[in-house]
């Protein structure tokens, strides 16, 4: 590497070293300073193990439903022509720029104690049914911030899909299900794997949404936060952050592509 190039990299290298590498290295060794077994609290203590299982279960199910619905909407909006299509697409992808707290608040307006669904169920004589603060509310909120990403990705991919393959399959008498499985799913595979990794990683690390809902269903980011603020247990918060970070990093590592960096937005 030429010396000019090294000089050009220097500011970024110093900045990154000072404000990420060094702090994170300290975070990584913090549990070891006390007891190396602290790295495994997510296995040894039931409360943390459950928190991790909750988060994994929620993130995986949100990812699956997001991929199915996102692909359906993306394919429809990417391939059909109707007035207002572009407008609908841009409104549906608008929430990409919303912080997670707003989406938590949306769930409260929808199904909280004074929510719309709550009013409707009461009017129907079913009692005041509010699901915002439990698992259902959290699931729908995560779905809400994941869908725009998937819709945008699938709509873009659907527009550039090779129509001739589908036409050929159709004229050879392929059934609809076969076209979905052998033509659409094959052509959309790169989008699917990139999307799955991003949605899973974002759901695992999402904090603002669960924080706003102060959900009864505890997820790992909330556990970490409460260890840090309520119990001032920095070491335990560090250990659980390492666990969480390894999961999200590994998911993204599996599909390491340019899309990951351009696709992840803040939650």
């Amino acid at each position: 590497m030429k010396s000019t190039h090294r000089l050009l990299l220097l500011p970024v290298a110093i900045f990154f070293m000072a404000f990420w590498l060094l702090p994170v290295s300290r975070l990584l060794i913090l549990p070891a300073e006390q007891d190396w077994r602290l790295y495994f609290v997510f296995l040894t203590e039931a409360r943390y193990a459950w928190s991790l299982i909750n988060t994994l279960g929620l993130s995986i199910s949100v990812t699956l439903v997001t991929l199915i619905l996102g692909a359906a909407v993306g394919l429809y909006l990417g391939r059909q022509q109707f007035p207002g299509r572009q407008l609908l697409l841009s409104i549906l992808t608008l929430p990409l720029s919303f912080p997670g707290v707003i989406i938590g608040f949306f769930m409260i307006l929808l199904a909280g104690r004074q929510g719309l669904v709550t009013d409707i169920t009461q009017a129907l004589g079913l009692g005041r049914f509010s699901f915002a603060y439990g698992l259902a509310g959290l699931f729908l909120a995560y779905l809400y911030f994941s869908l725009p990403r998937a819709i945008a990705a699938y709509a873009a991919a659907a527009q550039s899909m090779d129509k001739s393959v589908e036409e050929a399959a159709r004229s050879l008498g392929a059934r609809r299900w076969h076209i979905i499985r052998d033509v659409w799913m094959v052509q959309l595979e790169p989008t699917t794997s990139a999307c799955a990794a991003i949605v899973f990683a974002t759901s695992m690390g999402a904090f603002g949404t669960a924080f706003t809902l102060s959900s009864q269903f505890e997820v790992l980011p909330i556990t970490i936060y409460s260890e840090f603020t309520n119990f001032a247990n920095f070491t335990l918060a560090a250990s659980l952050s390492i666990t969480l970070g390894l999961f999200t990093w590994f998911a993204l590592f599996l599909t390491r592509r340019q899309e990951i960096v351009t696709g992840v937005a803040s939650q």
Binding site: M1, H5, R6, L8, L9, P11, V12, F16, F19, W20, P23, V24, R26, L27, A72, V73, L75, I91, L92, L94, P95, S97, F98, P99, G100, V101, I102, I103, F106, M107, I108, L109, Q114, L116, Y144, K163, E167, A201, G205, F207, G208, F211, S214, I224, Y225, F228, F234, A237, S241, L244, T248, W249, L252, F253, Q258, I260, V261, A265, S266, Q267
Partner: protein
């Protein structure tokens, strides 16, 4: 031959998803403008919640914009030179450097926030200033700019132009500022747009880094949701939409314009 495929199943799913996505936005906007949310429009329209938000939380809006702008400028200053160096070095070492830079995106903001507090929490003046939040935002958004601009610097025609200018005797400064940077301006604009969007909406990291005296728009939002009436929370959300969305559209439009201008 193109046959238009009617897909009633996909249309139905699209309609349901659209209702699911749009209802909360409509609820929140209307709740911001009525006197009483549980009585709905019957309670009459008002601007008093918006006025209350401006009085109580107006500062957070200004600070969020200031941090986002500073974040863009800071990242351009350190990121664009680095992007050039990375583009001209196809070595494994440079690839690794680029990969490492994207780690803060792959790791939850909560972890980065904890690490920063662990390392710098005791430096009181730094901890209690907005620059603590700014540093976190820059670390988190830097890879978006560097990756976009690196890809632009790698274009073969740019490499040729650089070589031509070099043989004509232009020094590095002249080539970098006179030829290379103007040529990748659309990529810098696109990267800056991403940086701005991410910074202004960032919560996970910011919530860890903020103090009662240093609050951004999303931090204020979380505060209002926890401690104020639904109408005030809705009005604050509406302020976010009114301030942020037009800015994003304007930036998007400028980026498009630059891309069009440089495409010819």
């Amino acid at each position: 031959m193109t046959r238009r495929t009617q897909s009633p199943g996909l249309a139905l799913i699209t309609a349901i998803v659209a209702v699911f996505m749009l209802t909360p936005m409509a609820l929140s906007t209307s709740a911001a403008l009525v006197n009483n949310y549980s009585q709905g429009f019957a309670s009459g329209l008002t601007l008093r919640w918006l006025e209350q938000v401006i009085t109580v939380y107006g500062q957070t809006v200004v600070w969020s914009i200031a941090i986002a702008v500073a974040c863009v400028i800071g990242n351009i200053l350190i990121g664009v030179p680095a992007a050039y160096a990375l583009a001209r070095n196809p070595s494994r070492w440079a690839k690794t450097f680029e990969e490492v830079l994207t780690l803060p995106v792959a790791v939850p903001g909560l972890a980065t926030g904890l690490a920063l507090i662990l390392a710098y929490g005791t430096l009181r003046d730094f901890r209690q200033s907005y620059s603590f939040i700014l540093v976190g935002h820059m670390i988190f958004t830097l890879p978006f700019l560097v990756r976009t601009v690196t890809a632009a610097f790698q274009r073969p025609d740019l490499v040729a132009m650089d070589e031509a200018a070099k043989t004509l005797g232009a020094n590095f400064r002249q080539r970098f500022l006179g030829i290379l940077v103007p040529a990748v301006l659309p990529a810098i604009a696109a990267g800056s747009l991403m940086v701005f969007t991410l910074s202004i909406g960032e919560f996970n990291l910011t919530w860890m880094l903020h103090t009662p005296l240093t609050r951004t728009l999303p931090v204020g939002l979380a505060d209002s949701y926890a401690s104020m009436r639904l109408e005030v929370g809705s009005a604050y959300t509406l302020v976010f939409f009114i301030v942020v969305l037009p800015m994003l559209w304007l930036l998007q439009w400028c980026t498009h314009l630059l891309e069009k201008k440089y495409a010819n």
